[in-house]
């Protein structure tokens, strides 16, 4: 805190020689400091914390005060949705991390020019809205979509494959959306692996395969974990893609929440599920941060 104040104060730049003068300066600076950070704080409190607290409040008061909503968490319909969500998220995470590892590996070990091109390829999708991408997948995957008509045209299938409005479609869309988030932390971690260790392994008699499995892979575990956490958490809370590609059949928790609130107006249950989701994610992060240094994992210095 005090370092922050010092850095923010003009007194830091023209260090006043006299103690007295410095002290007076600092008092003034303190006020200026709080004035400067006030707008951001107010913004966060009103638009982020306040609604969150309200959601929390509603979950205990609608339709009547108490823990009634939380008891509903164990009802068959909710558990079914929860299990579907968990299954889809785990599958998505596993596939995404495997693909991300391959991409990150190639990216990190490519030449400088290829790296620049690949960077563009990796972050470009981030600039395309999830909505647009979901519709693009619908065009590709639907009964008379590009893939099915191509396969049928080639005589490989008689009936169209069920690629959309099911878990398969959701996973495809989610994996596509999550890939950049999987690749970036992984690449950062792979890049930090000291290349001379691989030379050392080869020099000491390890084959390429042994070098990868005994040195490179173990050293990339922190990156794999970071990537997996990020992807898992993002996919837990993701709404648009599963809603569009699942077609209401393989429903995930976020879509279920939205239905409770917008369509059937069971605000109590909707907010309860939202609060539970936030809690689970917070718990997940807390547990993981005990084991791993999250800030370092995601590239903070």
């Amino acid at each position: 805190m005090s370092a922050l104040q010092d850095a923010a104060s003009p007194g830091y730049l023209d260090r006043a020689p006299s103690q007295l003068r410095r002290r007076r300066f600092q008092l003034g600076d303190n006020a200026a400091f709080y004035v400067l950070i006030a707008p951001a704080t107010v913004l966060l409190l009103t638009f982020y914390l306040y609604p969150l607290l309200q959601v929390f409040w509603i979950s205990f008061t609608e339709p009547k005060p108490g823990f009634g909503n939380y008891a509903l968490l164990l009802s068959p319909s909710v558990t079914r949705v929860a299990l579907t969500t968990l299954r889809i998220c785990v599958i998505t995470t596993v596939i995404t991390v495997v693909l991300a590892y391959l991409v990150a590996y190639c990216w990190v070990h490519a030449g400088p020019r290829a790296q620049r091109v690949m960077l563009l390829g990796i972050i470009l999708p981030l600039w395309v809205s999830a909505l647009v991408r979901a519709f693009a997948w619908i065009t590709l995957l639907r009964r008379d979509g590009l893939i099915n008509s191509a396969l049928a045209g080639a005589g490989l299938i008689d009936a169209p494959l069920p690629l959309l409005w099911n878990e398969f479609g959701v996973v495809v869309g989610l994996v596509h959306y999550m890939l950049p988030y999987g690749i970036l932390p992984l690449a950062a971690s792979l890049r930090s692996i000291d290349g001379s260790l691989m030379l050392a392994a080869r020099g000491l008699g390890a084959t390429r395969g042994q070098t990868f499995s005994m040195v490179y892979l173990p050293l990339s575990i922190p990156g794999i974990v970071a990537s997996a956490i990020l992807v898992f958490i993002f996919s837990l809370g993701f709404y648009i893609t599963p809603a569009l590609l699942g077609g209401g059949r393989s429903m995930m928790i976020t879509e279920y929440i939205s239905i409770q609130i917008i369509e059937v107006l069971r605000w109590g249950l909707g907010t309860t599920l939202a609060v539970t989701l936030v809690m689970i994610i917070a718990l997940l992060l807390a547990v993981v941060s005990r084991v791993l240094d999250l800030r370092k994992l995601f590239g903070a210095k």
Binding site: G203, L204, P218
Partner: protein, 381 residues
């Protein structure tokens, strides 16, 4: 308690076992023939040829960028030469990948695996060779004993001091009893005192295990103190190879003389060339020099002389070459005075005077210096 002695005592037992456990004396003769490596237009090394006998401690010495690492990495198999042949015991090994060459390696910065304990690091070369578990445990214990790291077996590399990491890397390189060990500046990251201790340990270890060591350094003192032979590289070329004594006493070129310790260089024109000696003139001063049937009158020569070979002469003392000089500056180094003196026609000369007979030297003082004709050497410039 004397550290080095303690080390020697511990070294004694396990190393002998290591040697006797191995097959009959492992041959590890390396020859490098006309090795060249270019990167695009840049030449890293050009036409380097070395013959390294089994059991030798050979040092590659040279300034930064002279190609030491390139030569070592070519031998190790990490750099594929543009031209030239590398042989192990007469067999060409150019086509073998690094892991099939069976050399022990100590990298600059050690390259210990950070996720493995010291014992696991040392076990690595044996695990990748699929040695049986009991044998691995045995060999690792012996190797750790050899470098005195038994107590640190379960630590991670980052929990070790620099010197301990260096020893762990050494144990890892030796544990599978390779016939050749390659070391790239293994001591450069350590502070001076530790360096000194480890130089002695390393040399000691080498003489006990009897393996071929190929050692890279840019520290001339280290090279002089440890090597059986030194190969001096400059700008990608091998300039001279020989025992430390030869290189120091009989440098072939001005570069070698200047790089290995300090040297004075005197240029002149040959006169009175005889069969086993000649005189050369620098300005108005005529100096004599032994050796050199190849010199003819009128040739220009460069002669080099080490600071410690120049004596300060009294009236009564004689020397083949006698010069009047004036002290330009001096410094005291405990064991000797280091003097810079000016000599007419010859220029600035540096010399080390082991003792100072009369009062302390003073700037501007006139002294007579001299050396015998076989104390200096003719070098190619």
């Amino acid at each position: 308690m004397n550290f080095t002695h303690a080390v020697r005592d511990v070294f004694d037992r396990p190393v002998r076992r290591l040697a006797s456990a191995g097959q009959p004396a492992l041959a590890g003769a390396i020859s490098v023939e006309n090795l060249t490596k270019t990167y695009g237009n840049a030449v890293a090394i050009r036409d380097v040829s070395l013959a390294i006998g089994s059991g030798q401690f050979v040092t590659l010495l040279g300034p930064s960028g002279s190609g030491k690492t390139t030569v070592l990495m070519s031998i190790a198999g990490f750099v594929s030469p543009t031209a030239g042949e590398i042989r192990l015991n007469g067999e060409p090994i150019n086509h073998l990948p690094p892991d099939r060459r069976e050399f022990g390696m100590v990298f600059q910065g050690y390259a210990l695996f950070p996720h493995l304990t010291v014992a696991q690091n040392v076990a690595f070369p044996l695990r990748v060779r699929h040695r049986p578990r009991t044998e691995i445990e045995d060999s690792v214990r012996r190797a750790l004993e050899m470098v005195q790291l038994e107590r640190f077996a379960d630590r991670l590399p980052r929990q070790l001091s620099g010197g301990q990491q260096q020893r762990a890397a050494l144990a890892r390189a030796l544990v599978f009893e390779p016939s050749v060990v390659l070391l790239d500046e293994p001591l450069s990251a350590l502070d001076k005192n530790l360096r000194h201790d480890l130089q002695a340990e390393l040399k000691d270890l080498h003489s006990r295990v009897g393996l071929t060591f190929i050692y890279v350094t840019h520290d001339q003192q280290e090279a002089l103190a440890m090597s059986d032979e030194i190969a001096i590289l400059s700008e990608g070329r091998l300039v001279q190879m020989g025992t430390p004594e030869t290189l120091y006493e009989r440098p072939a070129t001005r570069f070698v003389a200047g790089f290995l310790g300090q040297s004075n260089f005197i240029s002149g024109t040959v006169e009175q060339a005889r069969r086993d000696a000649f005189a050369y003139r620098a300005g108005a001063t005529l100096l004599s020099q032994s050796g050199g049937p190849q010199q003819r009158d009128g040739d220009s020569v460069t002669v080099t002389i080490r600071p410690e070979k120049i004596r300060i002469l009294t009236e009564a003392e004689t020397a083949d070459n006698r010069l009047e000089s004036r002290i330009a500056s001096f410094s005291y180094h405990g064991g000797h005075y280091h003097l810079q003196v000016d000599v007419e026609h010859v220029g600035r000369i540096v010399l080390d005077a082991p003792t100072w007979r009369r009062e302390a030297p003073s700037i501007g003082q006139s002294i007579t210096i001299g050396w015998d004709e076989d104390a200096s050497v003719v070098v190619a410039s």
